[in-house]
């Protein structure tokens, strides 16, 4: 059983949702980013998304765009991202790590070789923002062969006719992008999220995690009541950005993760 499946099984037994946290690999530098990554499980992250830095993050808002820019400026790359995962795996064998980013660096690496190299580093899943099902055939079979889950994104624009097309490739879990927009901006109305999650569940038995616009422990708790996971990215990266070069660069973002985890863990009590 994959790390992702095991993790959701464990959470189901605990009757709670996952806290899924996002940071950009190498932001603001390799050492800080590695310390943050390594500290995530103890702070309460159940699943970690690691952003693969890219020069042109078209689906991201300014917070993640700036994070990618900092990472690249400090020497960040896809190679370094995989090295960070491999180093993390020396400290943690159970927490799923999902890489998230854009297709071009993966394409430049070579889809087949990338799948094998990522699996070897200890990567469990991959989210490629700009690879819709219409173009995914050249990557997904290689991921499957390597045992890496292809995590699909569904959005408010994915209607009942579109959902089966998107979900055909899905494994691991389904990521519901709760707003039609970019990361770190608006938040969705809870009623709209409830309805969308229920609709996705009619099409798949996979766990459903919800992201985009979740900033506070209270918001994470709201999501955790109905979904299998709450994804928080820009809020954590913002705290990191505000503490770069200060003593709190690692501890302040982890403190937010701890608060978010408490929110998620208390949600169904």
């Amino acid at each position: 059983m994959s790390r992702i499946a095991k993790r959701f099984e464990k959470l189901k037994a605990e009757n709670r949702a996952a806290l899924v946290t996002f940071i950009t690999a190498g932001d603001p530098d390799r050492a800080t980013s590695q310390a943050l990554l390594d500290g995530m499980p103890a702070a309460g992250a159940d699943i970690i998304e690691l952003g693969m830095p890219f020069t042109d993050p078209m689906a991201d808002g300014p917070v993640i765009e700036l994070a990618a820019g900092r990472a690249l400026k400090a020497g960040g790359s896809l190679r370094q991202t995989l090295e960070m995962v491999a180093a993390f795996r020396k400290t943690d064998a159970e927490t799923p790590v999902i890489l998230m980013g854009y297709y071009n660096p993966v394409y430049a690496w070579g889809p087949e070789k990338f799948a094998a190299d990522a699996a070897r580093a200890g990567v469990d899943g991959l989210i490629i923002v700009d690879l819709p099902p219409e173009e995914a055939d050249e990557l997904v079979p290689h991921l499957r062969a390597a045992g890496i889950d292809f995590i699909v994104l569904t959005t408010p624009t994915s209607d009942d006719s579109r959902l089966p097309v998107v979900l055909a490739n899905a494994s691991g879990f389904v990521y519901y992008v709760s707003i039609a927009g970019i990361t770190g901006t608006a938040s969705a109305a809870q009623s709209a999220v409830d309805e969308a999650v229920a609709r996705i569940r009619r099409h798949t038995g996979l766990p459903v995690c919800v992201g985009f616009g979740i900033k506070t422990p209270a918001q994470a708790a709201e999501i955790a009541r109905i979904a299998d996971g709450a994804v928080v990215g820009s809020a954590i990266v913002s705290v990191l950005a505000a503490n770069i070069g200060k003593p709190g660069a690692v501890s302040a973002p982890l403190a937010l993760v701890k608060d978010l985890a408490e929110g998620v863990r208390g949600a169904r009590k």
Binding site: M58, Y102, V106, Y107, D130, P132, T157, G181, T185
Partner: protein, 407 residues
């Protein structure tokens, strides 16, 4: 590579030209992209749509524009007979308006009220703002801060036309960055917004659709050269950023094997320095919705392009050009900033026509090859736009003394 029976059949039903093209966009946009494809398919087959498009090109844009025999440039080059296709004489001063007319009619058909666009040199921004004024639609233009500075006259024009111009400061603050922000806007406003892409790039169906709307250029040239010279041209030359003016000129001639076709990319400071020649200096990758040749590093990070011409300052190229490059049907060459500036001056002084810096790249290449060609060789150069917008850039490039201290 073996030659094909036709080079005009692409793309396939999934929007691919060989391995190029496609639809690499966020899932949020996919249903809308599929709707655009469907709506364009219906419009293309609708005689009423085509009639309205043709009528606006004639009555509003001022088509057909001349295929002008450039006698003095021909004499100066001393070889091939050079004709200029006068897209600069279109309303708004460039070929961009052809595509904007087509797409605004499509947006209206789709019931969209708000139009967004990216612009580099500002010609596409001006053309978009113009058709939005004409049809009473809200218009938002994304433009890099660097380009705003070097194309100020066009920024004022857009504002006068009622558009909101949003400066983009990320990256090198040029066309690529403007396109990123336009895509961010679109993903955030899918319900009411239509993205009016200005070149033969982006997700399918844009490369094919923009090509179709721009093909009026090549279709006219075919009729005009037959009327003036009684035969097809021997060569076609056009500049390429994304490549819409070139594709518009080239596409109707792709299956005429006797016609040599040449696309001119921007070599900026030189191919060993900063430039924007994606085919010469790049490799296949995925950006802005399509797979195409891109300037990038080994990690797949997109490189900053450079060209003195804002309209060519882009690290990619339309996917059909990438395919034609690999198929060997079109030759792709490049011209430096300095060569383009020299051609700009030559055309201005000899013909009394101030060409856009973009189009000056095509003229510069004509200047290189025309002298070696026979006098009965018919060469058509696409004068894709006028150069009024570039006078301050030229003044800066030539220095104060050159203009007698007028700057």
């Amino acid at each position: 590579m073996q030659s094909l029976n036709t080079y005009r059949a692409g793309p396939d039903e999934r929007g691919h030209f060989g391995i190029f093209g496609g639809r690499y966009v966020a899932e949020t946009l996919m249903p809308l992209i599929l709707q655009v494809e469907q709506a364009y398919g219906a419009a293309k087959a609708d005689p009423a749509f085509q009639a309205e498009f043709r009528s606006l090109l004639a009555q509003y844009v001022g088509r057909p524009n001349p295929l002008y025999f450039a006698r003095r440039l021909t004499e100066a080059f001393g070889g091939a007979k050079v004709f200029l296709k006068r897209e600069d004489l279109n309303h708004t001063g460039a070929h961009k308006i052809n595509n904007c007319i087509g797409q605004i009619l499509l947006a209206r058909r789709m019931g969209k009220q708000r139009i967004i666009a990216e612009t580099g040199a500002g010609q596409h921004g001006v053309a978009t703002a113009t058709v939005c004024a004409l049809f009473g639609m809200q218009c938002v233009i994304y433009m890099g801060a660097t380009d705003i500075e070097r194309q100020m006259p066009n920024v004022y024009r857009m504002k006068l036309l009622g558009a909101e111009v949003k400066p983009v400061t990320a990256g090198a603050a040029t066309l690529k960055d403007a396109m990123n922000d336009a895509l961010r806007d679109w993903v955030s406003n899918v319900a009411d917004t239509y993205y009016l892409i200005g070149t033969v790039a982006g997700p399918h169906p844009y490369p094919a659709m923009v090509r179709d709307f721009q093909s009026v250029i090549g279709d006219e040239v075919r009729g005009q050269i037959m009327a003036q010279e009684g035969r097809l041209p021997d060569s076609l030359v056009a500049c390429i950023g994304g490549g819409s003016n070139a594709m518009g000129l080239f596409h109707p001639f792709l299956d005429d094997k006797s016609v040599r076709i040449i696309g001119v990319e921007a070599a900026g400071h030189g191919l060993d320095k900063l430039h924007a020649a994606s085919l010469t200096g790049g490799k296949p990758g995925v950006l802005h919705g399509n797979r195409t040749y891109l300037l990038q590093d080994a990690d797949g990070q997109i490189a900053e392009a450079h060209s003195i011409s804002a309209g060519l300052d882009y690290p990619g190229i339309g996917p059909e050009h990438s395919w034609l490059h690999e198929a060997g049907r079109v030759e792709y060459v490049s011209v430096t900033d300095d060569e383009a500036v020299a051609a700009f001056q030559q055309c201005t002084r000899l013909e009394g026509i101030i060409p856009a810096l973009e189009s000056s790249h095509a003229i510069a290449h004509a200047a290189k090859i025309a002298p070696k060609l026979p006098k009965d060789h018919l060469m058509v150069v696409n004068l894709s736009g006028r150069g009024d917008k570039d006078v301050s850039t030229i003044a800066k490039a030539l220095g104060d003394e050159h203009l007698g201290g007028l700057v």
